[in-house]
């Protein structure tokens, strides 16, 4: 998920139909430059070197997202075909995190089995949460007021931080009760990727595979 604005102009993107390092490429209709999806960066063309801002998004079941956002609009292009219900998004699938020069990838199956994965990407403490039943994914910066937090399951789908005992919702990253009530964890942008593609783009990446 990226912001299409670059250098004061709004770009429209098409599908280049090529792979770069085995991953998808785009072209922009303004300059025809060719962009690489995993890094959101133009590889060749007039905008070579330009990078788009990544925007945090979530992967949810429809039931979960609808419950939290009853006013949501749903993309309806091509909804008439057969529906596919996917229990697991993909094989060899990782949750990729790139913060500054540092990168980390968490194996989706491992994260789903573990529920919570604590990691540090560069200097940033990060929490990855995957709901075992639905495959819903969240990634947060697990730092509040300059203190890194460690989380554990607290029953009924909520989390507890070990530092203050506050209770948090993994769905929206809000502290619901305890000393940190009302505080929010910042969402961290993440990318779904095949593990080999992530390794190609981020050779310095750590891999957390359980």
């Amino acid at each position: 998920m990226h912001d299409r604005q670059f250098d004061g102009q709004t770009l429209v993107f098409g599908n280049q139909g090529a792979l770069y390092k085995t991953a998808m490429t785009w072209f922009d209709h303004t300059t025809g430059s060719i962009w690489s999806q995993p890094i959101g960066r133009a590889l060749v063309g007039e905008l070579r070197g330009a990078a788009l801002r990544q925007i945090p998004s979530t992967l949810d079941t429809w039931a979960g997202f609808h419950a939290r956002h009853p006013d949501a609009l749903v993309l309806s292009n091509g909804l008439s075909g057969p529906r596919l219900v996917l229990a697991t998004p993909r094989e060899n699938w990782v949750i990729g995190l790139a913060l500054g020069a540092a990168a980390a990838a968490v194996d989706f199956s491992h994260a789903r089995a573990a529920g919570l994965v604590h990691l540090t990407v560069g200097d940033e403490p990060v929490l990855v949460w995957v709901d075992a039943a639905t495959g819903t994914v969240r990634a947060y910066l697990r730092r509040v007021a300059n203190r890194a937090l460690d989380f554990e399951p607290a029953g009924e789908g909520s989390l507890r931080d070990r530092e203050t005992g506050s209770i948090w919702s993994p769905d929206n990253g809000l502290a619901l009760s305890g000393p940190l009530t009302g505080q929010a964890l910042s969402p961290v942008p993440w990318t779904s990727s095949f593990d080999w593609a992530w390794r190609d783009f981020y050779p310095q990446s750590t891999f957390i595979e359980g």
């Binding site: 139909g17 792979l19 007039e46 925007i55 992967l59 949810d60 997202f65 949501a72 909804l79």
Partner: protein, 125 residues
């Protein structure tokens, strides 16, 4: 409430995905055979080594937009959306404006140019 797939169900879905994928590929290759050829990527990598590294990693498979992106997204209200409770959606919220992009659609179309909460966004899968 939540429908669970047994092993057989998962295999059936997996097989269906493979078949659908093969059909999509055949369709896309046919389309690309009829579409004008794509020019080589812009030759603005003057350093021969850099050019060679790019070319070795770059693999043009289809013509541009052979897999058609969504340029004019359309929407239905959540209450009207004919989605299964357990199908996956990419969720996006910007300035209290919420969007759900069904993964089923993204599997077929791969890219959506949208504007959410005043921000032009590119959704890709």
């Amino acid at each position: 409430m939540r429908r669970r797939l047994g092993i057989a169900g998962s295999l059936a879905v997996g097989t269906a995905l493979v078949v659908l994928g093969a059909l999509a590929l055949v369709w896309a290759l046919r389309s690309s055979a009829e579409a004008p050829a794509v020019a080589r990527p812009p030759a603005d990598l003057p350093d021969p080594h850099e050019r060679m590294m790019f070319d070795s990693a770059y693999d043009q498979r289809l013509s541009r937009d052979a897999i058609p992106p969504i340029y004019t997204p359309q929407f239905v209200a959540a209450a009207e959306a004919p989605l299964q409770p357990d199908e996956l959606v990419i969720g996006l919220v910007i300035d209290d404006e919420a969007r759900a992009y069904p993964v089923t659609t993204l599997n077929r179309r791969e890219m959506v140019n949208d504007v959410v909460g005043g921000t032009p966004v590119l959704v890709t899968w």
